[in-house]
């Protein structure tokens, strides 16, 4: 009878996660699984609602990346309207996406992960958090807060709110950018650039300290998926899908997102509310693939903007082929922040960004639509079917983090096998298992279109049910 080790809740992530480790009679790790413990039912309860409500409803899937959902929803709605949105609308939606990437990636790095990276995975949990980081390195903490704020300002000055802005709509957006706000955004760029470049230098200088983590945190071959533009460059708002294999060979390219079902299937497991997407041609579970920062940097042929492109080339030098260690998501996130700041500056200096023609108008012309964007955590799909009157009949969402479910499970197993030995379970061991999950910066509310949280007991029992060891994390 297997012994079980349970870690719950996983902290410093978004949403509700639980880890169960199975040990054999020698206390070697046999298997591990990562479960999401909550579910809301967006794919069903939107039935009957006017499709025009979708961008607002789906924002409430997640408070960290509501913008991603409103963008994907609006693109699905654009398809239902049968419109091609005006150029200023394309650009201004892209600008919003930049703001969100800064806001979200900064949160992941500074607020959620820096306690491990800066203070150490083994640090006492009393100190291993944002409050501890503020004490140990107030300059870094303030920079992180400021960078997240700058991203939030872009979202706020476009959409009036930093969380759940009511601004992206079917056909475009509902208000143009004012000159005042454009100038305010431009004025914050030098500081944003300074913060990210300092942080990048600082983090690159520390990478050697993480050799063990780099080797074991989700370091295995897998396929990767991301959007790319017409030239194969890194792309987060429009573009087409590219799948590559673990050696970097393209296996599917320039796939229109509306064809996603030909390539992506979803599998259900008993122990989690999160489904496992897989690459259909390879079957389940061989068709595991990863999305998110390292995936995007692996699938693309480069960045259009110079500073990010230089950093990307250096990043890709880490390995001969694609970068395989999920630990490097932390590094990749910083490069993406740099890229969106450059992209933001380019967009703000384009006079068309102030153009008031920001919406196409139509009624229902198609009864089905798919919208796809890169959310900070990975590729996001919204697929809707409506009646001729525009009432929702059906929805399917494949959400960013969800794509990584198989990979997260494998990563948890890898870390558990490496760090757990014998009957003694220490807090640093369990924190490392959580830390590999944090490297994916998962958004579990998004992934099950639901959310939640809970406390932690680790119990190690033998086959007779005698408790061998128990750790209660307080």
């Amino acid at each position: 009878m297997p012994k079980e080790l349970v870690i719950e809740p996983v902290t410093r992530i978004e949403g509700h996660g639980k880890v169960t480790i199975f040990l054999d009679d020698n206390n070697d790790v046999k298997d591990a699984r990562f479960a999401v413990t909550q579910f809301r039912g967006f794919e069903k309860f939107v039935e009957g609602r006017p499709f025009t409500e979708m961008p607002s409803i789906v924002e409430r899937i997640c408070g960290i990346c509501p913008v991603s959902h409103s963008l994907a929803a609006s693109k699905a709605c654009d398809a239902i309207l049968g419109v091609r949105i005006p150029n200023p609308a394309i650009k201004i939606r892209r600008l919003l996406n930049c703001g969100e990437f800064i806001q979200s990636h900064a949160l992941s790095f500074f607020h959620l992960s820096s306690p491990d990276l800066l203070l150490g995975f083994d640090r006492n949990p009393n100190e291993r958090n944002i409050v501890g980081v503020i004490k140990a390195n107030p300059e870094l903490a303030k920079s992180g807060i400021r960078l997240r704020q700058i991203g939030g300002h872009i979202v706020e000055w476009l959409g009036k709110k930093r969380v759940h802005p009511a601004w992206v709509v079917p056909g475009g957006v509902n208000e143009p950018l004012s000159v005042e706000h454009r100038d305010m955004m431009l004025r914050e760029i030098p500081e944003a650039l300074e913060i990210i470049q300092t942080t990048l230098r600082f983090f690159k200088g520390m990478i050697e300290d993480f050799r063990g983590e780099i080797r074991t945190f989700g370091n295995f071959p897998s396929m990767f998926l991301g959007l790319v533009d017409v030239n194969g460059n890194w792309e987060i708002t429009d573009g087409n899908l590219r799948f590559i294999d673990s050696r970097g060979h393209i296996v599917a390219d320039m796939v229109e997102p509306s064809r996603y079902k030909e390539f992506i299937g979803e599998a259900v497991e008993e122990f989690s509310y999160l489904k496992s997407p897989y690459y259909k041609p390879s079957g389940y579970p061989d068709g595991m693939y990863r999305v998110g920062p390292i995936a995007r940097l692996n699938v693309c042929d480069g960045f259009r903007t110079p500073l990010a492109n230089r950093e990307w080339a250096e990043f890709r030098d880490l390995e001969r082929g694609p970068v395989l260690s999920s630990f490097h998501n932390h590094y990749a996130r910083l490069i993406e922040i740099l890229a969106v700041i450059e992209l933001e500056e380019e967009l703000l200096n384009d006079p068309e960004i102030l153009d008031p023609h920001i919406r196409a108008h139509a009624s229902v012309n198609e009864i089905e639509g798919v919208g796809c964007v890169e959310a900070p955590r990975g590729t996001l799909f919204h697929h809707y079917k409506v009646t001729r009157d525009g009432l929702m009949q059906w929805a399917n969402l494949i959400v960013a983090t969800g794509n990584n479910n198989l990979a997260i499970n494998q990563s948890v197993l890898q870390v558990a096998q490496h760090y757990i030995k014998g009957t003694e379970i220490t807090e640093p061991m369990t924190n490392r298992i959580e830390a590999v999950i944090r490297a994916y910066d998962p958004c579990l509310s998004c992934s099950t279109h639901a959310m939640g949280q809970m406390p932690l007991v680790i119990t190690l029992m033998d086959s007779k049910g005698n408790v061998l060891n128990k750790v209660i994390r307080d």
Binding site: G63, W394, Q453
Partner: protein, 177 residues
């Protein structure tokens, strides 16, 4: 005596209220100098402690574990703040309420799955029939509505509670803000 003990938690929500809390930006440093963050998504404590001075609870009560949790929180907390529209009215999580749970599960795990011999059921919480606001389970001391509540209002509430007063939220925020 020690610092004021502040806890936060999310039940069936989206984390947006917590994000709005972080949107107080540099005022976070001042807040953290005055309180001790004893539980929540931003820290690694795995058990809700006793003697919490004030707790912000985001999200509706949607499954059996949320129910257990809210009772425990109420028991261990002096001032309980119902944080955001999901906690105050059940809001978007409540949109599932006129559907049967089996229909919600059918859409997600049958209609929208390719490999579906299994159904999620082992080792995970079970949905209760309706997602409900937290004041239907426990007494709430402060209602802080908004989707999310604006950061300035959150800061106001925290400041008042730190100074030992219950905040007056008249005209400061509302449902759907």
């Amino acid at each position: 005596m020690g610092k004021i003990k502040f806890a936060t938690i999310w039940l069936d929500g989206c984390s947006g209220c917590h994000m709005s809390l972080l949107d107080i930006d540099e005022r976070l440093l001042d807040v953290f100098s005055k309180i001790e963050l004893v539980y929540g998504p931003f820290v690694d404590f795995k058990r809700f402690p006793s003697g919490v001075d004030f707790a912000f609870v985001e999200g509706a009560v949607s499954n059996d574990e949320d129910e257990e949790k809210i009772l425990e929180i109420r028991d261990k907390t002096k001032v309980l703040v119902s944080f955001g529209d999901c906690a105050v009215t059940s809001n978007v999580p409540g949109m599932r309420n006129h559907y049967k749970i089996k229909d919600l599960m059918q859409r997600a795990y049958d209609d929208n799955a390719d490999i579906k011999e299994k159904t999620p059921k082992t080792g995970i919480p079970h949905l209760i029939s309706h997602a409900r606001p937290i004041h239907e389970f426990v007494t709430v001391d402060v209602f802080l509505p908004g989707c999310p509540p604006p950061a300035d209002v959150i800061h106001y509430v925290i400041s008042e509670l730190i100074d030992g007063r219950l905040p007056d939220l008249t005209g400061k925020t509302r449902f759907g803000q």
